[in-house]
């Protein structure tokens, strides 16, 4: 009898922890691993951009804040994590270069494009090896899952992820 009730208590505790964990992860803050060198040198810096060989053998872990998802108000240069528009199970970390209404230059076809309402233009810091809006197109803001604020691992790289404004975008008038 007492074994069953203790099992029931454990089950109740698991559900409670699960509920609280999901809520905190969805609404406040979570930790994410950075894979790949597309955001070098800000995240996962590489020594050689062509070969992609990394400075450190360990991937960066970053703090992702979810408060920005209340109003979806982002600034140029924010590093965000978003679900891929071609595969909802994948997440990418890139920097916002263009906000709705901005004109962005697409260099490989020498053209400019206006970022539609409700979308943003993202690019990696390491343009040589980054899968971003240059191939995926503008990303709907609804796919963004959080903003990257700090690196929390490895200890030598703990610090703020800075907002960097990059020139190629023509601001909207």
């Amino acid at each position: 009898m007492s074994a069953r009730s203790s099992l029931w208590n454990t089950a109740k505790k698991c559900v409670t922890i699960g509920l609280i964990g999901v809520t905190v992860k969805d609404r406040y803050v979570s930790i994410a691993a950075v894979r790949g060198g597309s955001m070098s040198p800000s995240l996962n810096p590489v020594t050689d951009e062509v070969s992609g060989s990394r400075v450190s053998t360990f991937d960066d872990y970053v703090l992702v804040e979810k408060f920005c998802l209340g109003r979806y108000r982002f600034s140029h240069g924010d590093v965000v994590i978003f679900t891929s528009p071609t595969n909802h199970k994948e997440r990418h970390i890139k920097r916002i270069i263009g906000l709705p209404g901005d004109w962005v230059g697409i260099s490989h076809i020498d053209d400019v494009m206006r970022v539609p309402e409700g979308h943003c233009w993202v690019e990696g810091d390491n343009l040589l090896s980054s899968l971003d809006s240059r191939s995926l197109g503008p990303i709907p803001l609804g796919l963004i899952r959080g903003r990257v604020t700090h690196v929390v691992w490895p200890p030598s790289r703990i610090g703020r992820v800075k907002r960097e404004i990059r020139q190629p975008t023509v601001p909207s008038y």
């Binding site: 891929s84 071609t86 609804g142």
Partner: protein, 158 residues
């Protein structure tokens, strides 16, 4: 003695706060949305209460014919309810200008995206306007209508 009372009172207060937090977390897992005319006559404008579940979306058990809640690709602050008319890889045929002409267009839904339309095709901003949407924008599946009582029942095959 007084210290012990304070201790008990603190524990009780903490347990109350904890229960309140649990309740708020349950609310987080549910939600409420305002309706427009795009899903008439399935969902009318008179304050329907429908239970939305998120498990099907997470387990990818949604398919053509399901009504889903999604974040609008035109405004991330807006949640809209539409019906899935085509999953990735399926081909969708739709009237370009319903009511004015019979001209149709057929497209194949790209990978990772779904084609959504409102039931009221004459007054609905959906994939015919903004294209197939990424599956990551879909948040919940309409499961059971609770109010009005005359239309109480499952939202599948409706």
């Amino acid at each position: 003695m007084a210290l012990r009372n304070i201790g008990l009172w603190a524990v009780e207060g903490f347990e109350l706060a904890f229960s309140l937090a649990k309740f708020c977390c349950c609310i987080h897992v549910t939600g409420s949305y305002a309706m427009g005319p795009s899903m008439l006559p399935t969902i009318d404008l008179n304050g329907n209460v429908i239970i939305v579940e998120r498990a099907s979306v997470w387990l990818q058990k949604v398919s053509r014919g399901d009504m889903v809640v999604l974040t609008s690709p035109e405004d991330p602050n807006k949640q809209v309810i539409k019906r899935i008319v085509g999953m990735e890889g399926e081909s969708v045929t739709y009237l370009i200008k319903p009511g004015e002409s019979d001209e149709c267009q057929t497209i194949v839904v790209p990978k990772g995206r779904v084609w959504v339309q409102g039931d009221n095709i004459h007054d609905s901003r959906d994939s015919r306007v903004f294209g197939a949407i990424p599956y990551g924008l879909v948040h919940g599946k309409l499961f059971w209508r609770v109010w009005p009582a005359s239309r109480f029942g499952s939202m599948c095959n409706v």
